[in-house]
Every structure is written in C-alpha cells, then in structure tokens.
Point group: C2
Chain length 114, copies 2
Amino acid sequence: MFKAVHYTEVPAEDVKEDDARGVQIRWLISRRDGAENFAMRCFEIKPGGHTPRHSHDWEHEVFILKGEGIVFHNGKRHYVRSGYVIFIPPGDEHYFENTGKDKMIFLCLIPYRK
Amino acid sequence: MFKAVHYTEVPAEDVKEDDARGVQIRWLISRRDGAENFAMRCFEIKPGGHTPRHSHDWEHEVFILKGEGIVFHNGKRHYVRSGYVIFIPPGDEHYFENTGKDKMIFLCLIPYRK
C-alpha cells in the first residue's frame, strides 16, 4: 500500500528492553504497510540514553538524522553525527549511545526473514 | 564489514538514464559492504530535476533528508518535504521531482534478489 507521511505522524513507542535507556522507536515502514523484505524504523535517544548492548544474526543499515553520539562495535566506540551512515554486519556486538546535548535520531533498517 | 562514514564521503555518480534530469546517486550501503538483503542509496536532485518515470517489480523505502518536491504515484502527485517517509509497493508507477529552490536529497532503499 502506498504511503507518504511525515515521520512524526507515526507513533513513537518506548523501547522496554532491560538494557535500553531513554529510547523510543517508530516503525516507519513495516509488514503492516506491505513491506515484505525489510523494515524502516526510526529511533530517538535522549541525551545520556543508549540502546541495548547485544548481537544478533541480522544486519543493521543506519542513517543518523539528528544529533550525535557513539556507535559501539565489537569493543570499539566510533563517534557519529548527523549525516553518518553505518553498516553493522550480522553477529557483531553493538549499541548506540547519545553522548550529545540534544536528541539523537536515526533510521535503522532490518531484513525480514523469508 | 563494519562501516561508519559521513554520507558525503561516498562518491556521487550521475544517473544517466534517458528520462532522468539533474540526478545523482550515492550507493551508501551495498553488496560491496557485505549487505546481502537490501541496499541504501542516497539521491540528490537539482531544482527542476526528476528521476525516471517507471515501474518495476521491487519496492522502494524512502526517507526525505532535505528539500521538498513531488512523489508521483500511479497518476497522483503527492507533496513531500524533509522528514517524509514514503513506501512505493512493487509494480507501481512512480517518479520523484524537485519542485523546490534547494537540492532535494533522499534515501531510497531497495531489496536484493536471492
């Protein structure tokens, strides 16, 4: 189904995983829209917040829309800011942390299983 | 392979299809990076420019980063601007046109075939 909306029209939900702090997610494009191959989510992290430190057997394709922070990848911390594109391969340990003073907002896309 | 770069570090190439005008593409994340399921591209369209009017049997997942313009979908023109998220299902006719005064920049993701 065709869709064209401002991302803020998509409801934000709290990420309630134990190791997440100050994180919200919007499912911008998902199976509910008819997307069968991959999903586009938007994350917002408050200053000082972070996503869970974990690994899983699917990749992330990420684009930082606003703010700045750290992407942790296999033991190293990489500084990123608005305009950065990040690829996290399957199986690699990672998390995102907002080390700035404003909201950190980024797109994070994941594949669907067939 | 892990990757974290500013999108402007990825080279922009002219889109040379007959019906494209004033369009450049950056392949931000692709098979060259080890992405096996979907690719992230960034398009830049000059004011007055447009992508080709066409349809194909794969979907687009789009996020408008900067500027404003029109997304044409199956005979209708929809106004979009920075912050808009767009899903174009497989098989639907579409193009993007920059109707603004500044560059129109957007992410457009496509699936890879298995």
